[in-house]
């Protein structure tokens, strides 16, 4: 399934790397539910959120600066950062 990572820049402890925000990738696998680190980091009650592994092509992330377009990056992204088509 094709997904887009939200292009948000909130303050605080966020585990979605900036270089992937706004980028489009494919869900590689579902990983289950994990406590939201954005709350956990501040000792707040943390809800469990679905975590995915999303695969991006290098060309999607780096555009013309790409070293080899077919190489990929996989990263773990929480559901609240994902826009589904």
């Amino acid at each position: 399934m094709t997904v887009k990572i939200k292009s948000l820049f909130p303050p605080g402890h966020v585990r979605t790397p900036s270089y992937l925000r706004g980028k489009v990738g494919e869900i590689e696998r579902e990983l289950g539910y994990f406590h939201n680190p954005e709350q956990l980091a501040y000792d707040l009650p943390a809800q469990k959120i679905k975590l995915y592994r999303v695969r991006f092509t290098m060309s999607e992330i780096w555009g013309e600066e790409v070293e080899c377009a077919s190489d990929t990056i996989d990263a773990e992204i929480y559901e609240h950062w994902i826009e589904k088509d």
């Binding site: 585990r15 979605t16 790397p17 270089y19 990983l31 289950g32 994990f34 680190p37 975590l51 592994r53 992330i61 780096w62 600066e65 070293e67 080899c68 077919s70 190489d71 990929t72 990056i73 996989d74 990263a75 773990e76 992204i77 929480y78």
Partner: protein, 211 residues
């Protein structure tokens, strides 16, 4: 003066480490205080603390090498490892705790490499403490953008028909690369195979030793 400068060096040419003569820092005091309170209240014993430190320091890539060599020699184990690496490493006595482990299989056409761009997440239960370069910005920022260039710096030249998959440990997973078994090792014992598995081959910046 040259003589003064030389006196700071050991016979092998390394600088001597200075004695720690300064007062304890705030956080050093905090650590000692918390530890002493825990011991006083009987929550942990001093012995348990030091045994745990010893256990943590004794974790090394030899653990990961056991997992890899087993996967090379036992197809059923390899299947279990690729399905659920946390359980498969636990089978061999290497518990990853609350975290989850994913094993990434290298093939003739796919090469995997791991990084944690946000901090320094690392499969410590299987590989011990991460090397300094793994924690440095130079590796973390460049391996996701120029993996082929960075791997060349490690001495690993991959041809263009091999796809590189970079895995960024951004959250609750930890990763270990299952490297390709070196050619000509069909008759080697599991112990001999373990000795071929390097730390770097399980991070993905190197290959196992060949025979």
């Amino acid at each position: 003066m040259p003589h003064d400068h030389e006196s700071h060096l050991s016979s092998s040419g390394h600088p001597y480490r200075k004695d720690q003569d300064k007062p304890l820092t705030y956080w050093q005091n905090m650590e000692i205080s918390v530890r002493e309170i825990l011991i006083q209240k009987g929550i942990v014993s001093n012995l348990e603390i030091h045994q745990t430190i010893d256990d943590m320091d004794n974790r090394s890539p030899a653990n990961g090498a056991k997992v890899v060599a087993r996967a090379w020699t036992d197809q059923n184990y390899k299947k279990r490892l690729l399905e659920n690496a946390s359980d498969a490493s636990k089978e061999l006595g290497f518990d990853i705790g609350a975290l989850k482990l994913i094993a990434l299989e290298n093939t003739e056409t796919i090469h995997n490499v791991i990084v944690c761009t946000l901090c320094s997440c690392y499969p410590r239960n299987l590989l011990g403490l991460p090397p300094d370069w793994y924690k440095q910005r130079s590796y973390r920022s460049r391996i996701v953008k120029f993996p082929r260039k960075v791997l060349k710096e490690f001495g690993l030249h991959l041809s263009d028909d091999i796809s590189i998959r970079v895995h960024d440990s951004t959250a609750d997973m930890r990763y270990i690369v299952l490297p390709l078994r070196p050619k000509g090792t069909e008759k080697l014992s599991v112990e001999k195979l373990e000795a071929l598995v390097t730390r770097d081959s399980m991070i993905g910046v190197g290959l196992p030793k060949s025979i």
